[in-house]
Amino acid sequence: MRVIVIEDDADAAAFVKGVLNEAGHAVDVCGDGKSGLNKARTGDYDALVVDRMLPGMDGLKLLKSYRDGGGRAPALFLSALGEVDHRVEGLQAGGDDYLVKPYAPSELVARVEALGRRATGDIPTTKLAVGGLEMDLLARTVNRDGQKIDLQPREFRLLEFLMRHAGQVVTRTMLLEKVWDYHFDPQTNVIDVHVSRLRGKIDKDFARPLLHTVRGAGYRLEA
């Protein structure tokens, strides 16, 4: 992926660049809002990573101008302001995701990669498939190798999210946010337990596991 990072703090920008480079993405860095906006408009990027507080033009305004100018690349806000109100502001300004500082590098990579997938998968789908696992979004049914799997509504949503991001790491926080719509981290391992239950249903009777645990990061559904 080609990513532009618009962040005025040079250390933070270098860190983001390093983390994303390591994950195999090409990164351009821009230190202020105005030139960042120009660069984002003219360059062909797959994703934008925008700090909310920028000199010259703040992140919200920058993204609004970018969207008004027809820019379609998905954007992730980075911010020290982490309340739900701030997230809502970010999403209203045209952001696709919102990551609160401080964050783990794995979280950043997972979220940026999730953005890239979203951009390419704009066409509404009715069926998802990973390996022999198939999900029918209209009939709300799941099969693996032709065998029907019964899921609770929440398990269905959890699996849907994992399948939409197949091959990518999804973090516990991402699952909490996107599947449960919670913006806090419970102290107990609630997500792990839910994932392991789901794993019991989709992997238990099959030779090859699809749902993998990525240590220190989260989970990945992969054929």
Partner: protein, 464 residues
């Protein structure tokens, strides 16, 4: 005109209140005395005036009807009747025609009428000479004569004088009393204010245990003192908790940081690549726990400052349904009997995310502290006064009653839980969320046996 700075005495509340009090009192006394005078001495004077008018009117009528002769006849008749009036009738040249006096006490007026006060000599019944005072009216007649009608002021004057004296003396005494009263009253008010000032001064000086005196009279100063004391109590609690928060932060962050350092050190020395890698992975967990603590501190501060939350009319059962679903598997995993008791639709004005987080903290604690084989109950019901109670009860060790208040304070982790993971902010955050919703967090016995009473934590929110 420029007004200079008033002297210190004048600027005190005591002085101003005393002055105000005195002014009001004097105004009141003056009006009272004026009324008293008007109704007594004034009334006597007015009555004499009315009678004099009537007498004069009758004599004038006689004069108009039959001229000087008829007037003289009328005066003679009246003198013989020995009424309260004295008379003097003179002709145009000033010669006495008829009357009790020989001369006028004052020159006859050029115009029509003049009122005079004068003294005359008379004899008492015992024949003693005495000087008496009188009031009268002198009128020039149209044909050149002069008529005077007068009456002896005598007893009336004495009465008048006495009333006037009483009024003035009362005024003087009243003035002095009002000044004293003003000083006394305002001194007591000023003293209470002074006590409040002393208290705050002491607190600012660093003595947080100072409290303003409350006398139990329930007056404004008592209420003010009570409010001030409540504020000081809260302030003291906050200061103490932030003092211990400093220690706790150090403790909470030092242990994972020390662990982290040791692990990195060991990883560095580990020549085995996988061993070094494992050390790094575990180190990341340690860093995450430090970051979690920081995030929790930040979030708690924001909630406590009331700086977050979008409050909407929300059915709390929707929130608890999701939580029950989220925690059910964890409870099963830990072999805890999980009992969810919802209660239909119950609406509160709430921020979903905050309430969910508070309840999630309570559930986390229950799961963490309840040993395997125990039970957890999540219950929603309408409490007293229409409040909505969201309760998480467990069969764990519980919190002794004397420790419950402290358990809610920032960073306070009771001794027995120090070894457990967690930031020690869970209950504080739940309490802060409750406060942000104008509700409160109530900790109580879980209802278990004395050895293991369990804990019941209730988030009580006002219904909407």
């Amino acid at each position: 005109m420029k007004i200079g700075r008033l002297p210190a005495l004048v600027r005190t509340t005591t002085f101003r209140l005393a002055l105000l009090h005195a002014s009001i009192f004097i105004l009141f006394t003056a009006s009272l005395l004026a009324y008293l005078y008007y109704e007594t001495a004034g009334h006597l004077g007015r009555q004499a005036e009315v009678e004099l008018n009537a007498e004069f009117g009758e004599l004038s009528a006689a004069y108009r009807g039959g001229g000087l002769d008829r007037l003289k006849q009328a005066v003679t008749e009246r003198r013989e009747a020995r009424g309260k009036f004295f008379y003097l009738l003179q002709d145009g040249s000033g010669q006495k025609i008829e009357g009790d006096f020989d001369v006028l006490p004052a020159p006859a007026p050029v115009g029509q009428v003049v009122n005079v006060e004068f003294a005359y000599d008379a004899r008492t019944i015992q024949g003693q000479p005495s000087r008496r005072s009188a009031e009268g009216r002198i009128s020039r007649l149209s044909e050149g004569g002069v008529l005077m009608v007068a009456y002896d002021v005598g007893d009336l004057g004495e009465m008048n004088q006495r009333i006037t004296d009483v009024v003035w003396r009362s005024a003087a005494v009243g003035f002095v009393l009002s000044l004293i009263g003003g000083v006394v009253i305002s001194r007591s008010a000023a003293q209470r204010a002074e006590q409040l000032a002393k208290t705050t001064e002491g607190v600012m000086g660093g003595d947080l245990t100072r409290r303003a005196p409350v006398f139990g009279s329930g007056d404004e100063f008592d209420r003010l003192s009570e409010q001030l004391n409540a504020m000081l109590a809260k302030l003291e609690r906050l200061v103490i908790s932030s003092r211990s928060a400093g220690d706790s932060i150090a403790h909470d962050l030092r242990s994972p940081l020390t662990r982290l350092r040791n692990r990195l050190e060991a990883g560095l020395r580990d020549t085995d690549k996988d061993g070094a890698r494992a050390a790094l992975v575990r180190s990341i967990d340690d860093v995450d726990s430090v970051l979690d603590t920081f995030n929790a501190i930040l979030r708690l501060s924001r909630v406590q400052a009331g700086a977050t939350g979008s409050f909407r009319r929300t059915n709390v059962t929707d929130i608890t349904n999701e939580l029950a679903e989220l925690y059910q598997p964890v409870c099963e995993e830990k072999r805890l009997a999980f009992n969810y008791l919802p209660h239909g639709e119950l609406f509160v004005l709430a921020d979903r995310d905050l309430v969910a987080q508070a309840m999630s903290n309570l559930m986390d604690n229950a799961v963490k502290y309840t040993p395997e084989g125990g039970a957890i109950r999540l219950e929603v019901r309408r409490g007293l006064n229409g409040d909505v109670d969201l309760t998480v009860a467990d069969s764990g060790p519980g919190i002794p009653p004397q420790d419950r208040e402290r358990a809610i304070e920032r960073f306070v982790r009771l001794e027995q839980s120090r070894s457990q993971p967690g930031s020690g902010l869970g209950l504080s955050l739940a309490a802060a969320v409750a406060e942000a919703h104008a509700g409160k967090l109530i900790l109580a016995d879980g209802g278990g046996p004395p050895a293991r009473p369990g804990l019941s934590a209730t988030l009580r929110l006002p219904a909407a």
